[in-house]
Symmetry: C2
Subunit: 340 residues, 2 copies
């Protein structure tokens, strides 16, 4: 009946004095030399990383010369790796990225999405407006793909197809960093219609270790990776948005880490100073658990916190009258073998 | 590390040709004589049933005489056991229930909630309005509690407290039907601020078997249970809302079953003709899985379907351009031992 050996419980959700729900999953922490620093659960099973690999998917935007040619700065490069909330500044930056490439939102193939940022959605709604593809959380990544196509003289139609030159460049970057084959049998279609490839969690962690540290990369690619990393830590609002995990954690860690969420309970991250890459998959796809796990891992690895990590690592659950009724917490002993 | 023996995988979420996420959980199907018809996973572990026991929690509304005294019909009695979407008709019925008891929304202690029905929330927002406690998905249940308090001459303040006479009546009904102790050590606070008591899944299934069939109940209680059941199947819109699982399934089954969702992946149901009660807990709290499990169970037990059950039992996943990218499906063999 599916997975026969269960991954361990990583996160518990309590109510009163009891555990109400449990989230199982796997964790991989590796360095750029393929050394496992910590693992829990099955880290060899391929998982779809979804949006968690957006920082790596942004490499062709730098490497093709498109970012320089179009004058993209930190905000644009942060949005190019974002799962943003569709807030007005996100939408404006995505529109400007397309404009610089001589395109507009009609070129986007990511589909229309209401802003996940509630107040922005309410404002649109109150104004009698509808969202566009610019509000799609992936619009910055897609604008980046279109920028590459435009700059290189590729056709812009079909830029989401697996065999389009832009998607080949993206796939090559992913294969090169993770060391994992990105073959058609491992392919699925992502929420925004581009291909997503199932990759073992260990390979994702290694890929992020390389991405953050530059180890094992060509000098050109190491520079490109550094630029994408620097853009995210310089403009954390543009990688997610108001009150969001990635934005708050990246800002709080002040340049020490890049973390990126993916749908269905995936999280990736890198800490360049220690040369580590982190990859998490919550079996059931729950973001609340993946976020709490990532915060707990960073708490152990970083050993210092101004309160933001702790707040995400152990979240009180409030009911509709803001009464605390339980908490989201790390399962006892889950990270006992993780060393700073 | 939490639960040591893992419950089985019940539902798989696929993308392309691969399983992307997995939901584990437990299932109990019992009759009113405490006989287990089918069980999977640990059905002895106490779980918080949350809103899934609202039909049983509505018994005092009938038994106290309040429903008759206030002229409540099927719509009011369906809303009294609802987790509704805050659509205009839900809000109007909740307001009318309170009005009949000489009260208004200021008496509600469930807290304010935006309608979960997106279009209703957007309409509120577009009109520059804010939601009230009437929009809370539990407002009908709370209006019912207040009706009992008002009719019996109890104070209405504090009707959510575990020791308020109304909550004692509710607790007695739950204990009597499930046969499980509802003691303080098993108590948590629900999202709407009333007590919720952790009960083994087996006891919940037995309670619903008794509720639906009337077996093992006093004649008065059997009549009250029948009235609550009949109200839900007569007015399925009022128990949930447009496009919602409970509403669609109850309507499609044309009186043969009452199903009720609860937060954190719980589902209860009863099929009076076969005398069965059903209780489900998805370990990780996912509604998408609990709904799919319930639909699959009903498909087996009922042996006929006009397509609605099948649609919920095996749901295609569409991405933001409505391209099918995967599905939510029953794990192979999960219900192999369930017989019609």
């Amino acid at each position: 009946m599916g997975q026969t050996v269960a991954n361990p419980v990583l996160i518990e959700v309590t109510r009163g004095h009891r555990v109400e729900s449990r989230h199982r999953g796997a964790i991989a922490v590796f360095d750029a030399d393929d050394r496992c620093v910590f693992s829990l659960g099955n880290v060899d099973e391929p998982v779809f990383p979804r949006s968690a690999v957006k920082p790596i998917q942004a490499l062709p935007l730098i490497e093709s010369g498109a970012a320089d040619a179009l004058g993209y700065g930190n905000r644009e490069l942060s949005l190019a790796q974002a799962s943003h909330g569709g807030e007005p500044d996100h939408v404006a930056t995505a529109a400007a990225m397309l404009g610089a490439a001589g395109l507009d939102e009609s070129a986007l193939q990511c589909g229309v999405q209401w802003p996940t940022h509630t107040a922005s959605a309410a404002k649109l709604s109150a104004g009698g407006k509808k969202p566009s593809a610019l509000h799609n959380n992936c619009s910055g990544k897609h604008a980046g793909f279109l920028a590459v196509a435009s700059h290189k003289g590729y056709r812009t139609e079909g830029y989401i197809d697996p065999d389009h030159p832009v998607q080949r460049m993206v796939r090559n970057a992913l294969e090169s960093l993770t060391g994992a084959a990105h073959t058609a049998d491992r392919r699925g279609v992502d929420g925004c219609s581009i291909p997503t490839y199932a990759v073992p969690l260990a390979a994702l962690a290694i890929g992020f270790a390389r991405f953050g540290s530059g180890r094992g990369l060509t000098p050109e690619r190491a520079v490109a990776a550094r630029r994408i990393y620097s853009a995210a830590v310089a403009e954390p609002f543009h990688i997610a948005g108001t009150g969001r995990f990635c934005t708050e954690i990246i800002a709080a860690l002040q340049g020490d880490a890049l973390v990126k969420t993916g749908a269905e309970g995936v999280f990736c991250g890198t800490m360049p100073d220690s040369g580590l890459g982190i990859a998490i998959k919550c079996d059931d796809g729950a973001s609340r658990a993946a976020e709490a796990i990532m915060a707990n891992i960073l708490l152990v690895l970083r050993r210092q916190d101004d309160g933001v990590l702790r707040r995400w690592a152990n979240q009180p659950l409030l009911n509709r009258r803001a009464i605390p009724v339980g908490e989201i917490r790390l399962a006892r002993g889950a990270l006992a073998d993780l060393r700073p």
